[in-house]
């Protein structure tokens, strides 16, 4: 259920103010320094940023206004109608619609102008375009002067509307002007509404709250309504009509039988008939007010009949009650009756609604069946019974007096005393109060010690006897017990072992193999342990893809054939196939990469160097050729033997040409600034520097600050 709080709408600035706000913000939040010598792309983006930023600010501002104001279609019909009469629905919608249109226009302008700036070929031209763009946006805003002013007024008024909840328990006061509606509200709530002896004192809805049956009730005071057709009603009266029409509530129709209000009883009855359709499905009470001036009993018979006929016309749930605000006769009765009626109706409605099923499904009321005809009454001790008889059937309420000192002339305290100590047990607290209160007397807890012999209770216990602390000898045979415990544990262990021995694990492994398995398992365990201890993964992880194969890079042995063989042998695996496969993969990859012939040879050479064994995949001639080339290459440059991928790759090695190399070098030189995400001119950074006027000259007698 939405809560209607129109106080939260932000203030709407006037059009010139809005223009100021927007332009100032642009000035403050965008870079301000640009020179004709800058690169044209930089100049363009400088001005484009200004245009875009202004547009964003305007859109945000207008968007907030549009968002904040309630949409008349979405809010409770009571509020929708109230807004309609108070602010005129069409006007309201038009104003918001115009703001929306303005927002669209501004966006359009910014789009167009930014497109133009993209073709700007000089600072002057870009600047002119920016100026034109901001000017056009501001013109659009200026045109919204009337809408903004109107919305600001609406906001002010909305925020002062009483916080009225259309769905809660509500009592509604209505009647002709000056009959005493506001007086009643002031009597039952703390509403503090103006009361004056002339008509139309109250010109809008007022709300007060009161309590009944520990529930919060909302009492609404409405402006007086006159008896004429709906079309002729003015804004003030329409508010009452709307409240009557849209709120589910108990209505108190207040009549002035003294006719001091300036309207006859007949007129008041006619108004009742006039607005009777609005009372349908509502709890209605006709309240005859000002009975201090004109008592109901002494009213002329025909007038009384008139009123009674009106009450009868009101239907079954309409009652008549006399009341006077001055003498407060009947005020609370009227309130209670109205609340009671409404509460009943609300509960009925709840029960009748289909929502109740979901609750009722979960409720089940059990009535225990009588098992036999034996009466089982509550057990009341004899003493209590006797006392009840003495007190004349009513038990005396035992007043809890925790924390309160009994006064001397306390009648109840006397009563307790006469009853005797047998009936009431004296508590430690009572004793405390008797003996001078807290701080003076405290209960002796030794009295409640649970010892073998009662006379031991108050024995004094020394801390040290014979130069020894008695706390050390609390348990004299603690050593024996410890020994017994240890013995027990040993026993248990032995038993466990024996149990294990009885059924040893069936294994089809030889003892040697078993040892190996154990060794492997041990190693695995240690590896896992090491890994877990070193695994403090409290940093961002780079995906493998980008990280590269770190292991290969830093561990020269990782791809060394001998190393691999050794390690695999350790694990008991034949490595020859693995190496073969790896090499063929490598070769394939090399072919694909299309490396220079030289590099490919080099790789192959090292491969063969490392492992002079038969190449199944290659023909004899090929092999020969390869060997020859290898020899040649060795002659040429012995250093190529080294694995190249261990060295950090230089720019040349990456296969970059001169052009890209230059840019790469530049990027390196520029460092972070060269990045796309680096700081730009839009980043508002103020370096630390010495401010001249603060750091030169005299620094005495205030001259330093006053300059």
């Amino acid at each position: 259920m939405p809560v209607y709080n129109f106080k939260r709408i932000g203030p709407v600035p006037s059009a010139p103010d809005l223009v100021d706000i927007v332009l100032m913000r642009t000035q403050r939040k965008t870079p301000t320094v640009v020179h004709p010598g800058y690169k044209i792309s930089r100049i363009r983006s400088f001005y484009m940023r200004k245009i875009k930023f202004t547009q964003q600010t305007i859109s945000e501002r207008l968007g907030n206004i549009i968002q904040d104001f309630p949409r008349l279609n979405d809010i409770h019909p009571f509020y929708a109608d109230l807004c309609n009469t108070l602010y005129d629905r069409d006007h309201y919608k038009l104003a918001l619609g115009q703001l929306n249109a303005a927002k669209g226009l501004v966006e359009q302008i910014s789009r167009d102008m930014i497109r133009m700036v993209k073709y700007g070929d000089s600072l002057y031209r870009c600047k002119c375009l920016k100026r034109a763009a901001l000017g056009r946006m501001c013109t659009v805003l200026k045109r919204q002067k009337a809408s903004l002013a109107y919305l600001e007024e609406v906001r002010k008024h909305l925020s002062r509307l009483p916080a009225l909840d259309p769905n809660t328990r509500t009592l509604l006061l209505c009647g002709l002007p000056n009959v005493g509606k506001s007086s009643f509200l002031n009597k039952v709530t703390r509403g503090n509404v103006e009361v004056q002896p002339y008509a139309f004192t109250t010109k809008s809805l007022f709300v007060g709250h009161c309590d009944y049956k520990y529930l919060r009730w909302q009492v609404i005071d409405t402006p007086g309504i006159l008896d004429h057709p709906l079309e002729e009603r003015n804004t003030i009266e329409m508010q009452s009509i709307i409240a009557l029409a849209h709120l589910t509530c108990a209505v108190l129709y207040i009549m002035d039988i003294s006719e001091h209000c300036g309207y006859t009883i007949e007129q008041q009855c006619r108004l009742f008939q006039g607005i009777k359709p609005l009372f349908a499905n509502k709890q209605l009470i006709v309240v005859v007010n000002k009975v201090d001036q004109q008592p109901w009993e002494t009213l002329e018979a025909e007038k009384r009949e008139m009123i009674e006929s009106v009450v009868k016309m009101g239907g079954g749930n309409c009652t008549l009650m006399p009341m006077s605000n001055i003498t407060e006769h009947g005020v609370s009765q009227v309130k209670n009756a109205a609340c009671e009626k409404l509460l009943e109706a609300r509960v009925d409605a709840r029960v009748a609604s289909n929502k109740i099923d979901s609750v009722m499904n979960r409720l089940q009321v059990f009535q225990p069946q009588p098992r036999d005809n034996v009466q089982r009454e509550a057990f009341i001790p004899e003493s209590v019974k006797k006392q009840l008889e003495e007190d004349g059937g009513r038990p005396k309420p035992q007043k809890s007096r925790t924390g309160y000192a009994p006064t001397v002339d306390d009648p109840e305290a006397d009563g307790d005393a006469t009853m005797g100590d047998a009936a009431v047990k004296k508590t430690a607290r009572d004793l405390m109060w008797e003996n001078g209160g807290p701080g003076v007397w405290a209960p002796d807890y030794r009295a409640i010690y649970d010892l073998k012999e009662d006379e031991w209770k108050f024995d004094s216990i020394p801390e040290i006897i014979d130069g020894k602390n008695i706390a050390d000898f609390v348990d004299p045979d603690i050593e024996n017990r410890l020994a017994a415990l240890e013995l027990e544990e040993e026993q248990a262990l032995k038993e466990l072992e024996a149990a294990n021995m009885e059924n040893p694990e069936e294994s089809d492994l030889e003892s040697e193999e078993e040892a190996a398995v154990m060794a492997i398992r041990d190693r695995k365990k240690t590896i896992r342990l090491m890994k877990n201890t070193n695994k403090t993964n409290n940093r961002p992880m780079m995906p493998r893809e980008f990280r590269g194969r770190a292991k290969d890079k830093h561990d020269p042995g990782a791809r060394n054939k001998n190393e691999i063989e050794k390690r695999m042998e350790d694990l008991g695996v034949d490595a020859s196939k693995m190496i073969e496969r790896g090499r063929s993969l490598d070769r394939e990859a090399a072919r694909k990469r299309g490396r220079s012939r030289n590099r490919r040879d080099e790789d192959d050479a090292t491969m063969e160097d490392a492992e002079p064994m038969d190449d199944d995949g290659q023909s004899k001639t090929k092999r020969k050729k390869a060997r020859r080339e290898r020899e040649e290459s060795r002659k040429r440059d012995p250093s190529v033997n080294k694995r190249t991928h261990n060295k950090p790759q230089t720019l040349e090695k990456k296969g970059l040409n001169e052009d890209t190399k230059a840019t790469a070098k530049k990027m390196e030189r520029k460092g972070r600034k060269g990045w796309a995400g680096g700081a730009g001119e839009g980043d508002n950074r103020k370096g630390v520097h010495l401010v001249k006027w603060m750091n030169t000259g005299k620094k005495r007698n205030g001259t330093h600050y006053c300059r």
Binding site: D112, M113, R115, M116, K118, Y119, D121, Y124, R125, C128, L129, A132, A133, R136, R160, L161, P162, A163, E194, S204, F206, V207
Partner: protein, 260 residues
């Protein structure tokens, strides 16, 4: 809880603090000093705007004061001769005033006639080629320089299709193409946004006219069918000439005066 006019209600019930009117009076009296202080201190654009506003306020103030004093003010008496003093045979003379009206109409007519041949901006600064066009280098090695990009706003017809890049000598960027112009009717003193139909004459060069370039002083043809203008022969005019009065490439829009 405060509802509606709670401030006023509070004043009504409890009154205001006793020196409230005094404070208000003083505040008002101090206002002049505050203003003066501010106007002496303020500088830059804020000062300019502030003084503009103050100037306007003062002007209206002076006017209202003059209005209040109207009865006391001394006016020059237009009617030198009292009415009753005129002899009866001179009463139906109109004399000078009529002649004046006539001459006025003649002048007006002349003006209008002259207006037909005159344009609002008679002298236009010619736009040089190198200002108008930017060289676009083409070819794989960017060694060719025969292409030109128009740097000013242009009008390009609806059904225009670009030529094959091989033959396209002049490029008119789509970001700088304009479709509508804000046209002011000089007599009605109102402005309409009208569709451009074509560029009639760019005074700088025939080439620009052909390309549809709009610079200051260019005569364009606009669609005035919405205005419901009628020609002397009674037909509805649907297109009229207008002269561009601003630099569209600097303002992002085309402003023009209707040539009537």
């Amino acid at each position: 809880m405060p509802q509606h006019e709670h401030m006023e209600r509070h004043f009504k019930l409890h009154g205001r603090r006793m020196d409230a009117p005094e404070r208000e009076r003083k505040k008002e009296a101090r206002l002049a000093h505050k203003r003066s202080e501010f106007s002496q201190k303020v500088h830059g654009i804020r000062a300019k705007l502030y003084h503009q506003r103050r100037y306007k306020e003062k002007a209206t103030m002076r006017k209202t004061i003059a209005q209040h004093r109207e009865r006391a003010n001394q006016h020059a008496n237009d009617e030198a001769v009292a009415e009753g003093a005129l002899p009866a045979y001179l009463l139906d003379r109109e004399g000078v005033s009529r002649a004046k009206v006539l001459s006025n109409t003649i002048k007006q007519k002349r003006k209008e006639k002259a207006g037909k041949w005159e344009v609002p901006i008679p002298k236009v600064k010619p736009v040089a080629d190198d200002e108008m066009f930017k060289v676009q280098r083409t070819g794989t090695r960017k060694q060719k320089a025969w292409k030109r990009v128009v740097t000013k706003c242009t009008f390009v017809g609806d059904n225009f299709t670009r030529k094959n890049p091989k033959y396209e000598r002049f490029i008119r960027p789509s970001g700088l193409r304009m479709k509508r112009a804000n046209v002011t009717h000089p007599e009605l003193k109102t402005t309409f946004q009208l569709d451009i139909i074509g560029v009639k004459k760019n005074p700088s060069s025939q080439l620009y006219t052909n390309l549809g370039v709009m610079t200051k002083g260019t005569v364009i043809e606009v669609n005035v069918s919405e205005l419901g203008l009628v020609t002397t022969s009674g037909k509805v005019a649907w297109a009229k000439f207008a002269q561009v009065t601003n630099n569209p490439e600097l303002d992002g829009c085309v402003n023009a005066v209707l040539l009537v």
